[in-house]
Symmetry: C2
């Protein structure tokens, strides 16, 4: 069983990645900025952009080969790019019994590797993915609709950061106990009792990753690498509309595993057609002991209720709030919010949806502003940011799926309320068939029950509500209720009042949501940085765990002790 762990390549990998692991552990402890993965496409070489594009295009229209994974029957296809290009990639179909049997065969070899060996293999997988970041960027762009720049960063280095962070946490938690310890208990005048104790990390079993449509790698890598680094083989079940980025990931993982002497079926791909229910069937298999999921609340709740044999980590719907009480940088606030609401057309679990503004207005460095003025100025800021179609396309990306598009249509038709900003169609030069829309900003009143019923639910996509509230205090109360009832991945606030700030902080601590205060520069409420920011808290209904903390990794394995007399 330990043959692979003794493989010379594994020793080489441990050596090669030691410094990265050490620095990741240090960054996670200090929470200062750090990343080993450059976040600009050109950092990857003179021809990296062209090479990445060519690599992406080389897989289009062809069967995607995963050598050695059990497969049968008709291949799976159906991905369609929100940019309108024909993908035409087809993935091997699999029979769950055969796939799980193959992974069970792979399990003991991976389980018997040391935490150091597993971390090194994971870091090599990440390094190879990183080197191909431009290729991954295209795959992410054409499955999620993210603009290239964002697909590169969020789908590439930032996702890799989150994967590395999970590996570092997994390594740290698995090595808290010594592998071997001696225990000597004095017995007065008699000889002491003396024992030798060995502590061995025992993984849980097989892990299942259920990927999402919008951030297949960013939301997928924490669970994937947390499970893998703790010794659990991972079955990757991508969203049917965003298979390619995770298929590429599986391919790289299998290549590294095989080179290191492990069974490549330690990581397998379970591609499926849209509308198929393979995730449900897999999730309740007795062999599946860990599940990571990002997506709808309905299926997240289903998993939590039904997959009782597994540790289930879910990220579900969220209704994120910004409280706008006051600011000493009105332009900075408007610009920050405009970008935050425009970025990837609000198709982020972290994008603010409801902007709470006192109906009596707010104080700013430009004097008092009424509710209407704030709304109008924010609409103008968004309009200005997106006035040029090329720039707009680079920020907005494309609409990811028909559901989001439908909501922009409904918003435009006034179904959600009075429009302060009406979505417009943006033309993409490069991709004429792409579906691009600017955001809708809806005026709403917290006192009107029907309007409240609308904005108190997740309206995923570029539809935002400028909600008039009686006061900042009332706004904080509304935010708290929203977090408690609907869940929230982020909260943010603008205030120059110590009292309001303190009440806002207390409300966020009480309801369990992380808070960004007075963002007026190049940091946005919807972005978190690995090794420093926690993504989610696990303390409200939007997610039952955070990226990344000890709680996210420490239940993915157990420790078994063997003791004997010295």
């Amino acid at each position: 069983m330990t043959a692979a762990a003794d493989h010379p390549f594994v020793a080489d990998l441990i050596d090669r990645h030691q410094e990265t692991l050490t620095r990741a552990l240090a960054a996670s402890a200090s929470r200062d900025y750090w990343s080993p993965y450059p976040e600009f496409p050109k950092a990857y070489g003179e021809t990296a952009l062209e090479d990445g594009k060519a690599a992406f295009e080389s897989v289009l229209g062809l069967p995607f080969v995963i050598e050695g994974q059990p497969t049968d029957g008709e291949p799976v296809s159906g991905e369609s790019s929100p940019y309108g290009i024909e993908m035409g990639v087809s993935y091997p179909h699999f029979e769950p019994d055969a796939l799980i049997a193959a992974m069970e065969t792979a399990r003991p070899g991976w389980a018997s590797a040391t935490p150091a060996a597993r971390a090194a293999v994971c870091l090599e997988i990440l390094a190879r993915i990183n080197a191909r970041s431009n290729e991954f960027a295209h795959a992410v762009m054409h499955t999620t609709g993210q603009a290239y720049g964002m697909a590169f960063q969020a789908g590439g280095p930032h996702a890799q950061d989150r994967g590395l962070e999970a590996v570092a946490y997994a390594y740290a938690e698995q090595t808290r106990l010594p592998q071997k310890a001696s225990w000597t208990k004095p017995q007065g005048k008699r000889d002491p009792l003396s024992m030798v104790k060995e502590f061995t990390v025992v993984p849980r079993g097989l892990a299942l990753l259920v990927g999402c449509n919008t951030f297949p790698t960013w939301n997928g890598y924490p669970g994937l690498f947390a499970s893998l680094a703790t010794g659990n083989p991972v079955l990757v079940k991508p969203h049917p509309r965003a298979t390619l980025p995770l298929a590429l990931t599986v391919q790289v993982a299998r290549e590294v595993l095989a080179e290191a002497g492990f069974d490549p079926n330690t990581v397998c791909l379970a591609a499926e057609h849209e509308g198929s229910t393979i995730a449900q069937a897999l999730a309740v298999r007795p062999e599946i002991k860990v599940i990571d999921y990002t997506g709808s609340t309905a299926f997240g709740d289903w998993l939590e209720t039904n997959a009782r044999q597994a540790q289930v980590y879910t990220e579900k719907a969220a209704v994120n709030t910004v409280l706008i009480d006051s600011t000493d940088n009105y332009r900075g606030m408007l610009n920050n919010l405009a970008f935050s609401l425009s970025l990837y057309s609000g198709q982020m679990c972290t994008t603010p949806q409801n902007l709470l503004i006192p109906r009596t207005g707010i104080s700013t460095d430009e004097g008092g502003k009424s509710y209407d003025e704030v709304v109008t100025d924010l609409a103008a800021a968004i309009d200005g940011l997106l006035s040029d179609d090329n720039r707009a396309a680079a920020i907005l990306g494309a609409v990811v799926n028909p559901g989001v598009l439908q909501r922009t249509v409904q918003a435009s038709g006034g179904e959600y309320g009075e429009l302060a900003l009406t979505p417009r169609v943006v033309a993409s030069k490069e991709f004429p068939a792409a579906t691009l829309r600017t955001p809708a900003l809806i005026k709403a009143d917290s006192d009107k029950p029907d309007e409240r019923a609308t904005f108190m639910n997740e309206c995923f996509g570029p539809v935002y509500f400028a909600v008039a509230v009686d006061s900042s205090e009332a706004g904080i109360e509304l935010m708290s209720r929203t977090v408690r009832e609907q869940g929230a991945m982020t909260a943010s606030g603008y205030t120059v009042s110590e009292q309001v700030e303190s009440a806002l902080v207390d409300a966020c601590l009480d309801t369990g949501v992380s808070l960004s205060l007075n963002l007026t520069g190049g940091v946005y409420a919807n972005q978190t940085a690995a090794f420093s920011d926690l993504h989610g808290t696990g303390a409200n209904p939007s997610a039952n765990s955070a990226y990344c903390d000890a709680a996210f990794v420490s239940n993915r394995f157990r420790v078994v002790e063997v003791r004997r007399h010295s």
Copy 2:
């Protein structure tokens, strides 16, 4: 909210207990022997034994007062000592709504205390409990039936060790992130992005401890102190037959909390009559976010299925196995097993139940021994150990409840199979009305389905099965199946064969049970030492967590981040 945390007494406590906390953390990391709590009754002062007895006797026959806790109606009584003395203690009855409301009022104050302040308060509670160990020993003895020596050690210092261990782990996990960190991200030629980030531990809510009959403090303290140290007020619901040890614990905790400026309702007692179902009602209350439970599999499974709003930690039934393959110290093995099976009449979740012996016999330093010889010699060793009634009473303790007594009666009547050793009544000089029985050793054959059906189920109490197996390999397979299907808290083995040892270790790693090998001296399979041995693994059906690791504490709180520009 932070008034209590600023209390001068809290600062004093932090100072006073800093070294103990530091040493507990060091011991947990090194796994060497350590304890701050002396394990001999006389270490507590010249008059400690008499004082403890007098203190215990002073509460008998009286209402047990918990000042300041909401109470109503008829008091709860009904504890009866397995030693036959009249307890007659009555506990305040409570109305769940009022009690939970009072605890919700206490919650914010305790939640806002720092991890260091909470750890210090917990260590002061433990220190005061420790000082009263002789009193607690009587309370444990007369509710569980443990002999005084064991009640003192397991119910006193060893339970306190496990509580301290949980506090140390809780403190470590809560302080992995800095309270405040700065983050500076270079932006090429532009000014760097610069943020200040604060990380605050947010407890889950209220915690419920559901205590057990046999080890109210030893099995209760890990969960109680893990929840308390992570900021969750704890509602203590003792077993109706073992209320006093936890009622005393609650009393001490409330006294320390009040002195430190916290609301004493941070820890409350929910005593109940036998047969009442208050635990079910409390367990599904939305305010209850953490539950710790030790007891039957039926109620443990019920909690896991129904208390979905809470993190549920359970320890349930177990069928523990010893494999007897060979030994180079036959007498040492027999004596070790005899003590292990006699201690507290097998009323421990960790006591071996099934002794697997090859039907072809075993090799020993005294030559080959047939299955029958091993069984006869073991029966004789137990008989010899317990031949003197006084010594027997000091080892066996009393039978904890009618269910266990009934099983010894059934065993004596041959209902479980052929007797190799028949239980006998032991007379207690000090407590003539006590119920004391020596163990039953039953001969069983792994090839006979009806016998297998009997020994494959937990038979809690002093009833053991000497199971003939085809070979050591077959024994290891049977042990594995038992662990997988029934769960096990411990496994042990005797072998001089490297091959058998290796197979046994592999089986234990694979099924997730900790293993004691070749115990022939003063360490027993059923005993684990805090700071060094893990109690349980959480990897098989007998328990979903272990005492104590990061996984046991890290989900009892979350971390909320607040970030802003520097």
